[in-house]
Amino acid sequence: MADTITFSQEISNLMYAAHGSPLNNCIQCGTCSGTCPAVEFMDQTPRRLIGMINADLKEDVLDANTSWVCASCYHCTVRCPAKIDIAGAMYAVKRYSIWNKTYSDDLVGPVFSETFMKTIVRSGRSYEPILAPTYIFGFGAKEFFQEVQGATKMMLKGRIPVLPSKIKRLKNFQSMIKHIIPMGEEE
């Protein structure tokens, strides 16, 4: 039956550990959209996105910037009368688009997530300056300048580390990760 799995099922499967109600319990009440602090920057509101997932409108869901504009603040999740974990669904859509490489090139989110991930696999700790060049390409010149200004100020105040720290049992840590997903050759 693997070949007849619908898009909405695929998204639900990517919500493995989320423990909300099934997405098709959605009653399209709009509480999530009304609550969302980022809604005006989304091309589809959270309510519409859930509706589109349930209708298996895969292309439209993946074209929308909605999941990448979601800040994972869970305000919608705690208010949904149908007890759907909308924030969790947003994560599932992000996962789908990263794993299937369907995200559009002008989105910075996926690149950021992947780079962050690689840094951690390498060192066990996150290290913001390493990430900077990667996501900064997504900004315009003005934003880039602002970012550098901000970073310099923090650096002067001793608030940005110069070198990433590593955890001690890094080998074990990396092999632990490989037990879960086969990825990331060590450099």
Binding site: L14, M15, Y16, A17, H19, P37, A38, F41, W68, V69, A71, S72, C73, Y74, H75, T77, V78, D85, A87, Y91, R95, I98, L107, V108, G109, F112, S113, E114, F116, M117, I120, G124, R125, S126, Y127, L131, Y135, G138, F139, E143, Q146, Q149, G150, K153, M154, K157, G158, R159, I160, P161, I167, R169, N172, F173, S175, M176, I177, H179, I180, I181
Partner: protein, 294 residues
């Protein structure tokens, strides 16, 4: 003296060093011991969850397992770390299948996790373990007349952990009033600041920060108190950029709640990392700091 396994998280190593210092100083003064977790790893913030849920939970589980081995309950000062730790710990008990996957991976580092400890945000230790009365007893420099806006942010209160109040929490206010300060009442205390959207959708994030700053300042705030390194940086370090983007002139200090607790307990500002902020706090705090320590 109750002892906890303390998971500082990456931000506290440098970016939020003042939070780290003030957390250790104030808990010590209030009779709680924080023992830093040995060889912890980054828990992935919200970012791993974009990639793979099981992996994300495994990374969090490693830290929890180290604490469990020590037989200690777990405390995190970063709201994102806390949320991750809380839910992974809960899932370990509720979801056998997930627990099996995770424990299989943890074997690679000779660890196992049952999920029997309790997981706390640092502010919970102040609000519940020590309690407002316990704090009040030790206050030697009441922050009288100081108007502090408690900023909860999102992940401390959401998602709901255990049926608790998520729309209008009050525990942060109780801590501030115990210090003798006035807790500012403003609408958006639990509204999201945009989080890591700053890196991925800057326009949206700056606008979300603007809304929060506006609300707090409009309500007569001298200083905003946060309980999360990410909230602190978003609200403070990005004020200049909000000002450039929207033509506003925000310049409101943003401190960690532990720094304010420390001041009220009479701890020297330097030990609390006061002076590392980008928006100076001297104009509002100088009256509570002895001349020679300024």
């Amino acid at each position: 003296m109750k002892k906890y396994a303390y998971f500082p998280g990456c931000s506290l190593e440098k970016m939020a060093l003042s939070y780290h210092k003030s957390s250790l100083e104030t808990t010590k003064a209030l009779g709680v011991e924080l023992e830093e977790l040995d060889d912890w790893n980054c828990c992935g913030a919200t970012t791993y969850f974009h990639l793979d849920e099981i992996l994300a939970n495994t990374l969090v589980a490693r830290n929890l397992a180290i604490a469990e081995k020590e037989g200690l309950d777990f405390v995190a000062p970063c709201s994102a770390c806390y949320k991750n730790a809380y839910f992974t710990n809960t899932y370990m008990k509720e979801d056998e299948d997930l627990a099996e996957h995770i424990n299989f991976a943890l074997e690679a580092d000779d660890l196992q996790l049952e999920g029997n400890m309790t997981v706390h945000h640092l502010i919970d230790i102040f609000a519940n373990e020590i309690g407002a009365d316990g704090i009040k007893e030790k206050v030697s420099v009441p922050l009288e007349g100081l108007r502090i806006a408690p900023y909860y942010g999102c992940q401390i209160v959401r998602p709901r952990k255990n049926g608790e109040e998520v729309e209008a929490p009050e525990f942060f206010e109780e801590i501030l009033t115990a210090l003798g300060a006035e807790a500012v009442d403003y609408t958006n205390k639990t509204r999201c600041c945009g989080g890591s959207l700053l890196l991925t959708n800057r326009k949206a994030a700056l606008d979300m920060i603007r809304i929060l700053l506006y609300d707090a300042v409009q309500s007569g705030t001298d200083v905003i108190a946060t309980a999360c390194p990410l909230c602190q940086v978003n609200l403070e370090a990005y004020q200049t950029q909000v000002n450039e983007e929207f033509g506003t002139d925000f310049s409101v200090p943003v401190l960690y709640f532990t720094q304010l607790v420390g001041l009220a307990l009479g701890i020297a500002p330097k030990k609390l990392g006061i002076g590392m902020e980008l928006v100076s706090t001297l104009p509002v705090l100088s009256q509570f700091i002895a001349k020679e320590a300024r």
